[in-house]
Symmetry: C2
Subunit: 159 residues, 2 copies
């Protein structure tokens, strides 16, 4: 019943709480809250990654790890698969979700577009943390063109 | 796979973050952080309550609502049922969990007993919020005698 939405409710509360408590309403303060959310997502992603069956920890190809994020991880967290995955074959991947659950509720108006980053930061961290457990260092950013669709850009960091 | 533990990971991060950011390390500051967690739990509990099938909103007996918390709600959130439910038949209920998931990780030593309240506040709010959606006002507190067992005491507030 309700367990599938528990994560979503908790995430909403967490974002609201971090924004309510942020000591500094300036762009700098907003950046700090985003970093905090990203860091929380990273640690949750790491922990999720450690729960994966051992054989998935030996992905031969980088692309396999990204497909794993788009299918297994997305289903575990959001009960749906990612809608698209593209790559330039040079270490940059774009993951597209046409109906991102954490944005769906705010999708009623374009006026909320500027609010979108705070609903994406945790998930950017989650993707980065899971990849990290798989042995892949990355930078993950998100962008929104039309709510509730969004894109996550993953840039692999070579050693 | 991992979705069952997602709530637990996120809860852990939330507690850690609230304690790291608390501006005031005094007992008063600790009380504030506990209230914040309890409030977040309350709102998540309300939202969960609103997701329940409509017929559950018409519990004839108070005890039915408490049983519902012990079975359906506990399974939805923690994938297990509460281990015991007792009442004095005068509006006080004691719900016992012998192996409370949010305490299991810290159960390795009695020295952590004083840390327990911060891992219980959210869940106290969750119980109070769900009951509130069912039309029942209550006060919910928790106590720990031996980790990872704990008791939640629900006192119904009559109008």
């Amino acid at each position: 019943m309700a367990d599938a939405v528990l994560f979503e409710f908790l995430h909403t509360e967490m974002v609201a709480e971090l924004w309510a408590r942020r000591p500094d309403p300036s762009p700098g303060g907003q950046k700090t809250s985003l970093s905090v959310l990203e860091g929380m997502g990273f640690r949750v992603g790491q922990a999720l990654g450690e729960r994966l069956p051992q054989d998935t920890l030996a992905f031969r190809e980088e692309l396999d790890a990204l497909k794993f994020l788009c299918k297994d991880v997305w289903v575990a967290v959001f009960q749906k698969q990612m809608d698209g995955l593209r790559t330039n074959h040079q270490g940059t991947y774009v993951l597209q979700d046409n109906d991102f659950p954490l944005l769906v509720r705010m999708a009623s108006g374009l006026q909320y577009l500027e609010e979108a980053p705070k609903f994406l930061a945790f998930t950017c961290g989650l993707l980065r943390g899971t990849l990290n457990t798989l042995g892949i260092k990355s930078l993950v950013t998100a962008s929104v063109a039309a709510l509730p669709a969004c894109k996550f850009q993953v840039v692999i960091q070579r050693a």
